[in-house]
């Protein structure tokens, strides 16, 4: 039987560990050990898992299960029902391997810094982080669109929990806003999914495409266009593209730095996963690509221009993170194999770089307890090493060689020119420059200008684990920048399959 159990473990292990951590209240040592072990194991599993698919409950398609198919009436065996997937199916290929691995790595760094920056680590907070990781891994792996919806809701709840746990001023308000907006987007996404279910009789993406291709359903019928629009709307919420960019950046700014690092990774990978599903289902419709490109350009422009005018550095980073999502969207929207590879590669890079930035700037919050750039200054003298690391992270985000985003942004611009849209390339270059300028403005006000008199710098030392995390993330950035084929080779197959 074709059931690869390790694929399911990628989702089940974080959930099981999360539930267990939730029970351990006030047992600090046990929490630390269990959390760190789980965080180490999560990125290792995808490396060990062979490619393939996992059928939950062993419900393989009848075509693959000769014993069950025996003695069934011709009503079933004589029709296409024979091919359909009766259960939830997870698909694991090289692209999923890379993305789940990177997500696991970011979870590891987030947990690692959290455990060392917090004096009494809370099991509930670790529970929320692992729960989010599990749901986003499931969204990446699942081939069942309703399963994606369920994990989409769990991820939203975990994100709300991470914001509530931060203890930053006004975090409850932001959490409530986020979940209220989610309660508009969630049901509408479900409506889109069930319209597809009603028309095709399936929730499995492969089977839906099969019914479209075989001509059982007219893919241009208004009902399916409505479903496409509703799913696209849910996708905007999950990934934080406009009109959800304001709330998403507020969410990042109300989480603790390690939480924000993880939250943006969730957004990036949800954007990629649901974006891939939309492309798989609806790429026959040329308007899908136009819409994805349009919304991405709006996200880039609004995100980056809003970042310039902010004064809270976490909000600046939040808006920059949203703006960078636009690059991924453009890659997906171009619709060529090269463009999609570039978009996926940019997604991997952005998840790493933005976590790097959030954790790096988090040291400022750790030392000063403020995130308002007006009150900050002179942090360079406090800790020059961390300042250098943060500067490198900013260079990486702007796409300076030899760091990783340079490779992916270059690929994106090449893909845009190849597709006959050089304007997109110009916009991307322009906004990269402005991104760098915005970053430098924040960097200058925090690190380089003279220290304001009223700024108090706490005496607590930045934990070594934070510095280790930053250096490790920098090394990953350099490796991917020098050898981009490590990532692009894994992503190519998926991208080629989408065209």
């Amino acid at each position: 039987m074709n059931a690869n159990a390790l694929i399911a473990v990628m989702v089940i292990l974080p959930i099981a560990s999360a539930l267990f951590l939730n029970l351990l209240h006030k047992k600090d040592r046990t929490i630390k050990i269990l959390a760190i072990i789980t965080a180490i194991v999560i990125p290792i599993i995808p490396l060990l898992t062979p490619y393939g698919s996992h059928f939950f409950g062993g419900y393989v398609p009848l075509a693959q299960n000769a014993t069950l198919a025996q003695g069934l009436p011709s009503l079933i065996t004589g029709t296409q029902l024979f091919q359909f997937h009766p259960g939830v199916m997870y698909v694991f290929t090289s692209a999923q391997q890379l993305m789940v691995f990177v997500l696991g790595l970011i979870t590891f760094f987030a947990i690692f810094t959290f455990l060392n920056e917090t004096k009494r680590p809370s099991g509930v907070y670790a529970f929320l982080m692992f729960m989010g990781t599990a749901s986003v891994s499931a969204i990446l792996l699942s081939d069942d669109i309703f399963n994606i919806f369920v994990f989409f809701e769990i991820a939203a709840l975990a994100q709300v929990g991470i914001i509530v746990a931060s203890g930053i001023k006004n975090n409850y308000e932001t959490a409530l806003k986020y979940i209220l907006l989610g309660n508009i987007a969630g049901p509408l996404l479900l409506l889109g999914i069930v319209i597809l279910l009603g028309v095709t009789g399936n929730v499995n993406v492969t089977d839906m495409i099969f019914t479209f291709k075989q001509g059982y359903v007219d893919p241009n019928s208004p009902v399916i266009l409505m479903a496409l629009a509703l799913i696209a709307f849910g996708w905007l919420y999950a990934s934080g593209l406009p009109p959800f960019h304001t709330i998403k950046s507020a969410v990042y700014s109300k989480a603790l730095p390690h939480g924000a690092a993880l939250l943006q990774a969730f957004s990036v990978f949800t954007l990629v996963a649901i974006g891939i599903i939309i492309l798989r289902l609806f790429s026959y419709n040329p308007f899908t690509n136009i819409a994805i490109i349009g919304i991405s350009v709006i996200a880039m422009i609004l995100g980056i221009t809003m970042a310039i005018v902010q004064t809270d550095y976490k909000r600046i980073l939040g808006y920059l993170a949203v703006g960078e999502l636009g690059y991924i969207g453009i890659g997906l929207g171009l619709g060529t194999a090269f463009g999609i590879t570039a978009g996926l590669f940019q997604a991997v890079n952005e998840a790493i770089i933005t976590s790097f930035l959030f954790i790096g700037f988090g040291t400022v919050l750790y030392k000063t307890r403020t995130s308002n750039t007006r009150k900050l200054g002179g942090m360079m003298y406090v800790n020059p090493k961390v300042a250098l690391l943060v500067l490198l992270a900013g260079l990486a985000m702007a796409g300076v060689p030899p760091l990783n985003a340079f490779q992916s942004k270059l690929m994106l611009i090449q893909a845009a020119i190849q597709s006959g849209l050089p304007e997109l390339g110009i916009i991307m270059i322009l906004l990269s420059i402005v991104t760098f300028m915005t970053f430098m403005k924040a960097f200058y006000t925090i690190y380089m200008r003279p220290k304001p008199k009223e700024l108090e710098i706490l005496d607590n030392k930045i934990p070594r684990s934070t510095v280790i995390s930053l250096v490790a993330l920098l090394i990953i950035c350099i490796i991917l920048g020098l050898f981009p084929q490590i990532a692009t080779n894994s992503l190519q197959t998926l991208a080629a399959g989408l065209v």
Partner: protein, 112 residues
Amino acid sequence: MSFYDIILKRIRKIQEKAEEEEPITNVTASAMLTAELTLIASVLVAVVMVRLIHPVLMIIMIAAVLIIALMAMPIMPRLRREQNDDLNNMMFYVVVALGIIVALFYWGNLNV
């Protein structure tokens, strides 16, 4: 008075009205100006893509965008005020976006 000064003055004027509690420094005013120029530049470049539909339409749209941008010059302070953290405001834009997306997918496909 140069063009730069006129824009800067207008930005400050609008900002004074909008955010009385926040101090207006050179940094915030110049940040606003940068955002303004970025916005106009990238929108103009994006509008060039209309050439794929029809070149004449592109020229008309670029002219329209330029005129609108010059007429309503400090757009960014207003845009910033629109994209605030008020729930009712966000909810409004979310529902408007839902309407636009559904309408575009429906008619966009029938006419492309």
